[in-house]
């Protein structure tokens, strides 16, 4: 993609042209303001004054059109900015999804700690040969294993 210096192939060039048109409109406006002051000093109600005002108003209309052309070009430049973007946007969203998956896996750490606690309690129960703590510990372990499984992503279909 060659950057033709005299062309309008890039958003930057389009924007630059729009800037130029806006600047012209600004210059025109400065002249119109001077003209307005001059008109104000003329004899009120005279035909000359009315004529000059009409002429100035036509210039003001031209100024407006310049500005509208500039804004149209700004809109073209803006559209070009987003057209180029497709990929980075998707990449960022994909990355965010991957990170969300990581976050989900991190909570596994917490669940594992619960599992370890269950195992310890089981060990304790066995050592003291008491049924109640053992049963409670087994239940804890069952619950923890379920929690771990629930937070895992679904398993892919088994391949033979």
């Amino acid at each position: 993609m060659s950057d033709d210096e005299n062309g309008l192939s890039t958003p930057a060039q389009v924007e630059a042209l729009a800037d130029g048109l806006s600047a012209c409109a600004d210059q025109l406006h400065a002249r119109i303001k001077e003209e307005a002051a001059a008109i104000a000093a003329m004899l009120d109600g005279s035909a000359a004054r009315a004529q000059r005002l009409a002429a100035a108003e036509r210039l003001f209309d031209a100024e407006q059109e310049l500005r509208q052309r500039a804004n149209g070009l700004y809109a073209d430049a803006a559209a070009a900015v987003v057209v180029k973007l497709g990929k980075p946007q998707q990449a960022v969203i994909a990355l965010t999804q991957a990170a969300a998956e990581e976050i989900r896996r991190i909570t596994l750490l917490g669940d594992a700690a619960g599992l370890v606690a269950g195992l310890l309690a089981l060990a304790g129960g066995i050592a003291t040969a008491q049924a109640a703590p053992v049963l409670a510990a087994l239940e804890t372990i069952r619950v923890q294993i379920k929690a771990v499984k629930a937070s895992l992503p679904p398993k892919p279909a088994k391949t033979p």
């Binding site: 960022v92 990170a99 269950g118």
Partner: protein, 286 residues
């Protein structure tokens, strides 16, 4: 016997927990500044509001337009409306990224204290077997440290991964938002001069027999609109500054990925957070 089993379980647990750990330099791992930066970035205002304003330009300027200008304005209006959703999507992607980064860098979710306390409770059941309170306290302390290190190390590595993998694309998106904000501002300039410009000619040149009420209405209207646009100019500036700060802050993260706990790195990040907060307050205020 129980002590041996305990030591075995502790070893297993340590190797298991440390297995997923990056080589964290210190035991004091705080990603608070990263999280604060991500939060401030995600909640930065301005761009969304200015995008809407840009979209609705024609509605505001239409009353002031000559027929020829009106025709051109309507063509531009169609162009602006067509791409509006894309403008919004760009921001959404960046906000989503920052919100995710904030979660990764935050430690509230990974405070495994309650779970660690469970481990302590597990130990208490064994007290009758000869363990003293000292052992239990030590075990809980070690477990807590291990868990925090593993979690933070894991976090650290994930924050690093995300920043490393995402920086280029995030910067591209932020550049786009900055470019668009600049185009919004320039369009606003032309709108402002269209709206206010009419009065620069018609008020001074108005004939003496112009209705007095009309003149007063015109002057008051001009006054209000002038003040309105002045406030808006500031918003475009602030929005631009904010986006630039986010880009610089993320670049800083990218450049100091393995040094996120260093004091100077954290201080620089904290400064960005502060700047973003000031900008946000400026945008929230009318």
């Amino acid at each position: 016997m129980i002590v041996r089993m305990l030591l075995l379980l502790l070893c297993l647990q340590s190797s298991w927990l440390l297995g997923g750990c990056a080589s964290g330099p210190s035991s004091q791992v705080s990603l608070n500044e990263v999280r604060a930066f991500a939060d401030a970035s995600a909640s930065l205002g301005g761009y969304g509001e200015l995008s809407r304003r840009y979209r609705d330009t024609y509605d505001r300027e239409q009353p002031y337009l000559s027929p020829a200008a009106d025709k051109l304005a309507r063509a531009s209006d169609a162009k602006r409306r067509v791409v509006y959703n894309d403008f919004v999507s760009v921001q959404k992607a960046v906000v989503l990224y920052m919100q995710t980064l904030s979660v990764l860098a935050g430690d509230a979710r990974y405070d495994l204290g309650p779970r660690v306390d469970e481990l302590g409770a597990g130990l208490r059941a064994n007290a009758e077997s000869g363990l003293t309170q000292r052992h239990i306290t030590a075990y809980t302390g070690v477990t807590r440290l291990l868990t925090r290190m593993a979690a933070s190390g894991y976090q650290n590595r994930n924050v690093e991964t995300m920043v490393r993998d995402g920086d280029a694309d995030v910067q591209t998106l932020l550049e786009a938002m900055i470019a668009l904000t600049r185009l919004y501002a320039k369009t606003n300039e032309n709108e402002k001069k269209t709206v206010l410009g009419l009065f620069d000619l018609e008020l001074p040149a108005a004939p003496r027999n112009t209705d007095r009420m009309l003149l007063v209405l015109a002057r008051v209207h001009l006054q209000n609109k002038t003040a309105e646009y002045k406030l808006l100019d500031r918003r475009y500036d602030l929005a631009m500054q904010g986006l630039t700060k986010v880009a610089l802050g993320h670049q800083h993260l990218r450049e100091h990925l393995n040094q996120l706990t260093r004091a100077d790195v954290r201080l620089a990040l904290a400064n960005y957070v502060n700047d973003l907060r000031v900008i946000r307050e400026g945008l929230v205020a009318p």
